[in-house]
Structures are given as structure tokens and as C-alpha cells.
Symmetry: C2
Subunit: 264 residues, 2 copies
């Protein structure tokens, strides 16, 4: 259903990895240090670590590609209409980070005309990194990984960041899906998509996501042979509505979409 | 409210650490290897890793203390009425383990006349270990740790393994508590109690727990200055009902107990 996105130049993959390398010491310098927590307008927490990482990555991007845009969680968008736009979440799983739990990650994506063509999911505290790029196999710490097949929705292991991330009709839709799968697990944030790319879990269903929460996940999941779309089977772009469904197996993806959509 | 348990002999603390050392290579030898998963009678999953670890630890205990009892998750109880009974969960967070998520842990407790006096929470995949023993400060990787104070329930960060672990009236009680705290996070299993002992989180509220799920947590939390009881403020013993409430601050513990109990 997805027509193939443009292939991603090598130089940009290398830059994305350098950005993740640069983020690590900044993030880890604040981990478990009792860094001050502020509440944002939407009541989600943010720390100086989030802001510092994003500033550092923006400076590196601007130095190499002043024509590229940047969309990040913590600062105002820069050139959001550029052909290439970097989409950055300095710390995905801020609540994990704040509570000393090591599964938070840095998400770095590059979108070409709105479509993610490159994604890095980097977990500095556990030293694990997934790199996905259009037209290439996804690598986890340099080794290719593959999503797994699934015998059916009733056998599927599912992750979501939190059951409280769903609002309005999504609450009912997610609950309908949850009752049809084998086990629902929570609290892995973006790490769940890395586990899916490695073939350890079958589904991730989330909502209320922002572009910087999901753009990096797309090339990682697709490059591992998985399927990732919104809840209406549309390709994810920077303009998507924040509902995300990823599956290792296309048949499980289709069955999960039907469960989310159907009142039957 | 808790009268002090008997102090724990040094030799038993050393044995508990040796048990945790012995478990690590067995557990990690099966991590992310696609180990077969069986469903137990209660539909919870179990793997060969769980069974092998418990067998190894039982052999070590029997060699040193043939008079001690052993209560474990995967094998029948041995001398459950002995003065000293080891209470073991070879892999707490089996679903995390199965899905490649590194926060599962090995729980090793020693109960004296039913009361936990020694607990080890060992996380082999991230190399972190908490050791608590009656009358001593809790150590995390050898360094003393302390739980933190909390300004009030409305400021509390709470963990639970899963919102689906609650049954019957506990569903409503937990939801009542959840609506009064600041943030509820899931999916950390026994790691959450380690985070509480380190002062990174304020509350852990769980239910449907078995003695091997909670006995090791008690000395770890208490030795860090925290409070851990059942949901009726009673000390936890091997005979407790499986509802657990841990807090870093005694005032937060009291407020959380009231929220769990009250229909107001």
C-alpha cells in the first residue's frame, strides 16, 4: 500500500548517527542526577536535558545543512517547509528518564517532502541503537534485524507506552484491540519499536503522538520488514494525526487495523 | 507500625549474593534467544530459563543449608514451615524477558518465621543489583541508597507493573489512587522498587502478587528508609494477600493507603 519513499543518501545516514553520538553524553550527563522537572502547557514533563540535547543537535544540523528544516519537541520549528526536515525528540520517554528507568531514547528522523526516509532510535543508557533508512535493512548496533511473522492476532504480543495515552474514541478502539491479542505490555516507549524490529514483539499501537514521536520509527520498522501506518492504513508523514500501528507481520497489521476500526 | 524483624546474619547475605551471581549467566544465556514460551495454568508465561534458574538456586541452597525451606515460582515448595525459607522468583517480569526488554529481574528473599529479612533484586541485563537486609542500609551495586521524601500525593510519581494486574474491587481502588497522584507509569516490574529505593519514584502499588513476587522487595525498600506493607498497612509476610504498597515517604504511604481504602 505504501509506494516506496526516496532512497536516503549515505552522507545523511552518517550525519544522523553523528547526531545520536553527540546526544549521548548530554543525555547521560543528566541521567539520575535529580535534574529539575518542569511541567509544559500540556502537563507533560520536560527537563534541561531535553532542551540541551535539542539545541546541540540543531547546531550540528545547521552547520552542515543550513537549508534543512528542523522540527523538534522543545524548540520552535525551523524551515518546516524545506525539502529535507529533521524531526527530533531529544528524549522520548521523558517520564522514564526522570524516574531513572533506562529505556528512554533519542529519536532522530529525516523527512523528505514530509515522508520519513531515515530514522535513528538511540538508547544511550543501555547502549542500543537502531538505524533505519529507506531502501536498506534496519541495523541494530550495526547488525541487520528482522521483524517476525505472527500466527494471528490471538497470538500477538503488543506494546503501548501507556493505556492512558488514548483519548476519546481511541480508548474504546484500543481496548477492543487489547481484548483480541495475547498480552498487552506497557512502558517501553520508543524501545518497543526496536523490539518489534528485532522480532521480539508483534504489535505496537499508540495514539496522541507528535511527529517527533513517530517519524524515526517508520524507517526502522519498514527496514526490518515490518509495517507501520496510522490507524487508517495510511503512510505516516509529518502531518499524520498521531495514531500509530506497527506490526512485524502484514497480516497481523491488517487484523489489528480491523480490530481498532470495528465495533463488531 | 512494623516491629523490627530479626537481624540477618552476614553469611546469609553473602549466600544471597552468590545465588544472584549464579543466576545471571543462566538467565542471560536464554535472553533474546527465542526461548520457547509455555502458558501456565493461570495463563502466565514461563520459559526453560525460569525453571533452570530456580533449579540451580535450589541446589546451591540445599548444599549449604539443607534445613532451610524453599518457596519458588516454578517448582513445588520444599520445607515451607522451616525457620528459614528462601523465596525465589527466578525471572520476575517474564513477559519483559520474553519480549527482549531488559528490565526483568531475579528476586531472592530469605524469610525468618515468615517475615522477609533479606532481599536481592538483581537485574542481569542492565547490571544492577539492590541488596537489602534487616538492620542494614540497602545497597545498589554496593553503594547505599535512600528513598526520597514527597511533598504530597498530588506530587507523587507511581509505578505498577500493569493496570491489568488488578481484579475485582482492586480495579476501582487503584483507579482512585491513580487519579490522585501526579503520574502513573507501568512496565518496570520489580525494577520499580529499586527505583523507589534510589529516590527516583515515590510510590509502587500492585496486587495479585505471590510471595516470590514481593518478599525480596521488603528489605530493599525498608533498608532505604521507605515503607512497604499490604493495602491495609500490615507488614508483608509469606502469607500476605498479594496487595503491595511501597512509598519512599511514610506520609505519602499513609495518604495512598487512604486513597486505596476510601470511597470518598
Amino acid at each position: 500500500m505504501n509506494d516506496a519513499p526516496a532512497p536516503c543518501p549515505d552522507s545523511l545516514v552518517r550525519l544522523a548517527e553523528r547526531l545520536a553520538d553527540a546526544a549521548r553524553p548530554v543525555v547521560m550527563g543528566h541521567f539520575r542526577t535529580g535534574v529539575a522537572v518542569d511541567d509544559k502547557a500540556d502537563a507533560s514533563p520536560v527537563t534541561a536535558a531535553d532542551r540541551e540535547v535539542e539545541s546541540a543537535l540543531r547546531a550540528l544540523i545547521a552547520a552542515e545543512h543550513p537549508d534543512h528544516g528542523v522540527l523538534g519537541e522543545e524548540h520552535a520549528a525551523t524551515r518546516p517547509d524545506a525539502e529535507y526536515v529533521w524531526v527530533i525528540d531529544p528524549i522520548d520517554g521523558t517520564k522514564s528518564f526522570i524516574t531513572g528507568k533506562p529505556l528512554f531514547g533519542t529519536l532522530i528522523a529525516l523527512a523528505h517532502r514530509g515522508r520519513p526516509i531515515l530514522g535513528v532510535i538511540d538508547h544511550p543508557a543501555v547502549g542500543e541503537r537502531w538505524v533505519g533508512a529507506a531502501g536498506r535493512p534496519t541495523l541494530m548496533n550495526g547488525r541487520p534485524v528482522r521483524a517476525r511473522t505472527c500466527a494471528g492476532l490471538a497470538e500477538a504480543w503488543l506494546y503501548a507506552s501507556s493505556p492512558h495515552m488514548f483519548a476519546g474514541p481511541d480508548v474504546v478502539a484500543f481496548e477492543r484491540l487489547r481484548r483480541r491479542i495475547k498480552h498487552a505490555l506497557y512502558g517501553a516507549d520508543c524501545y518497543a519499536y526496536g523490539l518489534l524490529a528485532c522480532g521480539f514483539v508483534d504489535l505496537v499501537a499508540e495514539a496522541s503522538m507528535k511527529p517527533y514521536d513517530f517519524c524515526a520509527l517508520v524507517p526502522v520498522v519498514e527496514g526490518a520488514g515490518g509495517v507501520i501506518t496510522d490507524w487508517r492504513d495510511r503512510p505516516l508523514t509529518v502531518a499524520s494525526d498521531g495514531r500509530v500501528l506497527a506490526a512485524g507481520d502484514a497480516r497481523t497489521h491488517a487484523a489489528a487495523l480491523a480490530a481498532l476500526a470495528s465495533d463488531a
